[in-house]
Subunit: 357 residues, 2 copies
């Protein structure tokens, strides 16, 4: 990962936003910008100076590995950076900072203002790195394909274990062991394995149901490799499908295809969701699709943007390098649910699906 | 769990704090007060009325299981609750609410004020449930002992697998599989298995080091059962101990014993840490103990209070029912580290150790 290039982009961003200093202290953002794994620390990005502040636990490793200046974090070292670099406006990520931490930051700035007769101001920024993180570079794409391929192998592994009497929990654990033995560092989320009617709950908590002949099996799984996540859902008919669920499955796949057709540079996110919902509407299933069409994936399994016709990101335009899920689903209480989820990357003239079958 | 009793205590608390409404939306706090597992939702606790607001996904299950009123979450339903119950002050958890969510809450309240000519005020509260959650009731103690006992069995399991050439990662994965097969729902944190010099890093990230004869092995593990966490650290000498590490181990155990002697109702937290550090000082090891003595454990693996002579909680007084870790450690770069961590519960006249050996 070229962190220096990323940091350069952030410096250009703060100049455009008229901010003298951006404070980054979210661990994932720290990893993105320094390639270090820190549970805490503060990255100060000014227009022409960058410094990473860490505590004693991380000082040695950060100094030897970070491509930027590193200093021990103390009130004085942070104070000095702000005063010596003539900072007048300080930006922070309002989505990641708790209100309590904001109050601490504010009283720290007030103290600097009082003791140096300054008038430094705080500016709330909502997810300031999102525009950068949403476009994956070649290294990131390679890792994400690796995570997706491992996820798929984990899926195949649990498919091979489907038999009457096996429990949801057993399959979820088998998936986890398989991917962890094969290089995943963690699950991207609690695996969902739902048998029969349990599949009707979009956020089902995997439990001890036993597989019965003719059950539908919904599997929503993901694992992370080198910090990057994967995410995929499939349903399997174990035996003879219920005709209603079979129809829901066919309609869901068709609606996904309809959304995928819109996946190319220039499309607005809402257009994908509208295309999908149009199919559901034609089949009188619009009320059974109760969630978003998808979301960005990367260092977080759910990250910017959220894909829905009425979401805050609805007018975001697809660009090459964006990695998103497309996951329509239909849920009918007491009958069951289906969801079909792929993770794709937008390419120069269309998209590439991380899952080919 | 008697949620109604807990809610009653929170109502008494807000009366004392002169707050008309406390908003709870942290998932762990929601579980504590409703016994439901919700990824989102808002619990409104007023002086004489309580209501849980959830979205469509959770409405059915919440209505059937919650011991309190449940309503669909909409702007109108929240608005109506505030106006109909003559709320004048609204408290929120400043540690859990992001600055961005605070701004949304503020503009929501501003809107109510404007349209109803009211003057409702917001009050930031830092971890408002901590005084309740810190005292575990009998049900919680039973579950926490179950989690600790499973953790110990997981420890014994990996001890049986120690042999030259085994990797840290393999042992960590074996621990995880063992506890998950035996009823743990998740790990409490990424397991730390550190061989040789790696043990010198208090927050070591388990990697692919292979076990060599005469290595020290540091194992810091925990798993959760029914939402409650466990946490324990042991070191094992695989072969002949390095004399320096052997001495550090003896001193650490002695310092822990010294802290444990202070573990009884009435002691201040700082007294535990001071007792421990006194032993280190006598042995000229004070600089090698670089972290807190311990922390609370419960629905979170690190929760209130933090045990250190200079922490914000230093004057907190031990009471029966508090569950805390006591975990002194010594770390010498390029040589290795030792840590000895137990989780204990304060009893009427002393403490009970969840780990007996």
């Amino acid at each position: 990962m070229n962190c220096l290039k990323r940091l350069k982009h952030v410096q250009e961003y703060i100049i455009k936003k008229n901010i003298d200093l951006l404070i980054i202290d979210d661990p994932i953002a720290l990893t993105y910008l320094t390639n270090l794994h820190l549970s805490c620390g503060k990255l100060f990005i000014a227009k022409d100076k960058i410094k990473l502040f860490v505590d004693g636990r991380y000082l040695q490793v950060a100094k030897s590995k970070a491509p930027i200046d590193v200093e021990l974090i103390t009130e004085k070292s942070l104070f000095d950076f702000i005063v010596q670099n003539s900072i007048k406006t300080v930006g922070f990520d309002s989505d990641k900072l708790s209100y309590n931490s904001f109050e601490k930051l504010k009283s720290f700035i007030d103290k600097i203002n009082a003791s140096n007769q300054l008038d430094i101001k705080l500016t709330a920024l909502l997810d300031p790195l999102k525009e950068f993180r949403v476009i994956k570079d070649d290294d990131e794409i390679l890792i994400m394909k690796k995570a997706a391929s491992l996820n798929w192998r984990g899926f195949e592994h649990i498919c091979s274990l489907l038999k009457e009497g096996v429990t949801e929990t057993e399959l979820a654990l088998q998936y986890e062991m398989f991917v962890k033995k094969n290089g995943a560092e963690s699950l991207s989320f609690d695996s969902i394995v739902a048998f029969g009617k349990n599949s009707a709950m979009p956020h089902y908590k995997t439990a001890d149901a036993k597989l019965k002949l003719n059950d539908i099996v919904l599997i929503d799984i993901g694992c992370s490799v080198e910090g990057y996540h994967s995410d995929m859902t499939r349903v399997i008919f174990f035996g003879t499908p219920d005709p209603m669920l079979e129809k829901m499955y066919a309609v869901t796949k068709r609606s996904q295809g309809s959304a995928l057709k819109m996946c190319r540079p220039g499309s607005k996110l809402k257009e994908l969701d509208i295309a999908c919902r149009k199919v559901f509407k034609e089949e009188n299933f619009e009320k059974e699709f109760v969630h978003s069409l998808g979301h960005g994936v990367g260092l977080e399994v759910h990250e910017f943007p959220r894909i829905k016709f009425d979401s805050i990101d609805k007018d975001v335009i697809l660009k090459p390098g964006m990695v998103i899920t497309i996951e329509p689903g239909l849920y009918v209480p007491d009958i069951g649910g289906v969801r079909y989820e792929d993770t794709i990357i937008i390419t120069k003239d269309g998209y590439d699906n991380f899952y080919s079958s």
